[in-house]
């Protein structure tokens, strides 16, 4: 990857030696990414990340399928890259149906089947949920779509969260479109890929040059593409061993958490990503625990990564039936390929103290808030006319 950030500065579309070397590297990236998920090099469109891959797939499939229908099915727990793109498509007359999930965040294939109609053109489902880790019955959903949807109805699988830990084999999944992202694989940010099964027609969403077989115009980031290819290969090579190890670590950390008062695990207990610990802490704002953990040098997260401080509770947890106030107590730890057992030991030891401190802080703040309200009330009463009656 590194040479393509320096001496090998060629544009893969250029006709000279530098361009040819860049083009060869880009071809290699297509081959290696494709091979890692059971696809051919021409079935891979390299994008700037998971969000772009999903946007391209959704909008490209929707517009290409418009002549046949306008109905798009998805679930209520998809990533915002999916749900917000679909909200955008709704403005253009597409009909989006969000299928509910059970309390573990799992969709029932029967519900998908029941929602299919003659006008269905696309079904979108996440392989595993990025917030609570629940794995969806994707293969079964694909079977139902093939059996009951009109020919030409495509299936898009969002494998961004699952690719590092679960087998992503496009033949096994049976999907027409599969999105993955570099950064989730510990590869470079700003790299992603969309698998488009040979013969599947989607409309490119940005126009210009002929790059990526007209499906994504624009000069390619050769270094990022290669970096992602390598990261994906490494993840695949160590995936089973990583998953075995992380499953143990995950269960250890989850056990330490749910042993505390007011803490419950969210998502499916077994059918879940091996490295994802997700819990709800009652009566505490998850963000406050994240702050306390950060001050102790531990990186955790509330639902999904968010930078604007919005107090909106996670749409995933609310779809799973958690009331808003409980959903605000969401806390998520992601364990990865490089997470060591020692690090897990440290967190297991630290977490009870930090969660307790956050609970105490929440209680103290609630008490102070009540006291301040009472003092303001007293002051307001003092200012009322009744206290200054004519003597």
């Amino acid at each position: 990857m590194l040479p393509f950030l320096g001496a090998e500065f060629g544009n893969p579309s250029s006709p000279h030696a530098w361009g040819r070397r860049a083009r060869a590297a880009l071809d290699e990236a297509h081959e290696r990414i494709g091979a890692a998920i059971g696809a051919g090099p021409r079935e891979i469109v390299i994008t700037s990340g998971g969000t772009e891959a999903l946007n391209l797939a959704l909008k490209g499939a929707a517009w290409a399928g418009k002549a046949r229908g306008h109905r798009i099915l998805t679930t209520k727990v998809e990533h915002h890259a999916v749900l917000h793109s679909l909200q955008y498509l709704e403005k253009f007359g597409f009909e989006v149906v969000e299928i509910p999930v059970d309390r573990y965040g799992r969709v029932d294939p029967d519900d998908i089947e029941a929602a299919l109609s003659e006008r269905s053109i696309l079904v979108v489902i996440g392989h595993a949920n990025n917030e609570v880790g629940t794995v969806q019955p994707v293969a079964e959903v694909v079977r139902r779509v093939r059996a009951h949807a009109p020919k030409g109805c495509l299936v898009l699988v969002d494998a961004v969260a699952s690719a590092p830990y679960l087998k992503v084999d496009v033949t096994g999944l049976g999907a027409d479109l599969v999105a993955i992202a570099g950064h989730k694989l510990e590869g470079p940010k700003g790299a992603g890929a969309l698998y488009v099964r040979a013969g599947t027609h989607i409309l490119g969403q940005q126009q210009g040059g002929t790059q990526e077989r007209y499906r994504r115009a624009g000069t390619e980031d050769v270094a990022a593409a290669l970096g992602m290819a390598v990261a994906l290969e490494l993840a695949v090579a160590e995936r089973d061993a990583t998953a075995r190890r992380l499953r143990k670590a995950r269960d250890r950390l989850t056990a330490a958490l749910v042993a505390l008062d007011g803490v419950e695990s969210t998502g499916h207990p077994k059918d879940r990503l091996p490295g994802l610990v997700s819990v709800i802490v009652r009566d505490v704002d998850g963000a406050s625990i994240v702050v306390k953990l950060d001050l102790e040098g531990v990186a955790a997260s509330v639902g999904s990564a968010c930078t604007t401080g919005s107090a909106e509770p996670s749409h995933v947890l609310t779809a799973m039936g958690y009331p808003e106030d409980e959903a605000r107590g969401a806390l998520r730890f992601s364990l990865g390929r490089t997470t060591t057992d020692e690090e897990v030991d440290q967190v297991v030891e630290l977490v009870p103290r930090v969660v307790k401190a956050a609970c105490d802080a929440a209680a103290a703040l609630a008490a102070e808030r009540a006291a301040a309200a009472a003092a303001a009330e007293t002051a307001a009463r003092a200012a009322e006319p009744g206290s200054m009656v004519r003597s």
């Binding site: 950060d294 200012a383 200054m388």
Partner: protein
């Protein structure tokens, strides 16, 4: 320098709070930066560069924190802001008065909700802000609020509501600096916000359209009503009385020869009364909800005292007598007092803060209860030994 403390700095993304954080870090304190998300303006990438509360402002604060290599968090205090600042703001305007949202924000949000989180969540000793004000602590541990060295920037007017428990844990690193010195410090530290323009206006109304905000956020349904001159003659019609402030001259679309100003806004009759410039002068101001920084009035409960009063930010303090409004001593917090100024003050706006000073020291203050137009009633009221409450205009 004082012993090193762990201090939470409220960073707005402006130059003042950026420098406050930089100076504390330079002095060896352990500094944690926080940007408060207070309302939905935070979701906008602001076209209104003057607002301190857009997503862009949060980005600037984040950049400065990175430059200073301090931890930085975004803290959601929307609920506290809505209850403590936004809803009193809307309520005041809908009642025909002129609110002071910055006062409420300081007492209920920055040195209220934020201070609580500083103590309990961030495990900090104090909250620092980029206010121009000074805090002094005497040997017996009592904290006093003192005007800033930069007289033009002094912000004690907005901080009068702080009490001992708040002021003790407040830090104002800019109190001894002038604005040019603050800019120089920002440049010395190479802060990205060094040349950022001043924020202005009300942070949650970035376009400055208060009446539009009253409609969208306060559910205000404006109704046309009479505009009457000082003698009661109807001279025109307004499109809804809320949002007008005594002393305001523009925006009424009425020409009467001699200049006229809004002298009174009456929401019960939906009437705006005009006056000549001199009609808006008064020497008597009633204030409600009075709070003293020392937590007791200077001359003891119920005792009259001398003070200098400011009825608006940056106004020159006017010497005055301050007396209890009524026979009984007002409570130490939340009572009503009467201010009798030695020389007239102009365009006293109900709802705005009247802040009391003893020289450099801010004693406290309250919210103005009545317009200059009511001064006569008020004087009679006082003559009748403390009397019934006169309707708040």
């Amino acid at each position: 320098m004082s012993r090193p403390e762990r201090i939470l700095v409220a960073m707005s993304g402006g130059v003042d709070s950026s420098v406050a954080a930089a100076l504390l870090a330079e002095q060896g304190h352990e500094v944690v930066g926080v940007w408060m998300r207070l309302h939905d303006v935070a979701d906008t990438v602001s076209e209104f560069r003057k607002s301190c509360c857009s997503l862009d402002a949060a980005e600037d604060a984040r950049r400065v924190a990175a430059q200073l290599d301090i931890p930085f968090y975004i803290l959601n205090l929307e609920r506290d802001f809505a209850e403590g600042v936004l809803s009193p703001f809307l309520g005041a305007y809908l009642e025909g008065t002129t609110p002071s949202p910055c006062v409420d924000c300081n007492t209920t949000v920055k040195f209220g909700a934020l201070l609580g989180r500083a103590r309990h969540l961030y495990e900090c000793d104090a909250v620092a802000t980029g206010h121009y004000a000074r805090r002094e602590v005497s040997a017996d541990g009592r904290a006093r609020l003192r005007r800033a060295r930069d007289r033009d920037k002094d912000q004690t007017y907005f901080l009068y509501g702080l009490r001992q428990g708040q002021l003790r844990d407040a830090r104002f690193p800019l109190g001894d600096l002038t604005k040019p010195e603050v800019r120089a410090a920002a440049r010395r530290h190479g802060l990205v916000t060094a040349d950022k323009p001043e924020s202005q206006g009300i942070c949650f109304i970035p376009d400055g359209d208060v009446r539009a905000a009253l409609r969208s956020r306060g559910g205000w349904q404006p109704e046309p009503g009479p505009v009457v001159d000082r003698d009661g003659t109807r001279v025109g019609e307004h499109t809804g009385a809320a949002g007008y402030t005594p002393g305001q001259r523009q925006g009424l679309g009425i020409a009467l020869g001699a200049p006229r100003y809004v002298s009174r806004v009456d929401p019960t009759t939906n009437t705006i009364t005009l006056g000549r410039r001199e009609d808006l002068e008064t020497t008597l101001v009633a204030v409600d909800g009075v709070s003293f920084v020392a937590e007791a009035p200077p001359a003891g409960p119920g005792g009259a005292f001398r003070a200098a009063v400011r009825i608006r930010h940056r106004a020159e303090p006017i010497p005055a007598w301050v007396r209890p409004a009524g026979d009984h001593a007002p409570p130490a917090r939340g009572g009503r007092w009467l201010i009798e100024t030695d020389s007239p003050v102009w365009a006293v706006a109900p709802g705005q803060a009247a802040v009391l000073y003893d020289g450099e020291i801010c004693l406290g203050g309250g919210r103005i209860a009545r317009t200059a137009g009511d001064a006569g009633v008020l004087a009679a009221d006082r003559a009748a030994t403390g009397g019934e409450r006169v309707s708040v205009a």
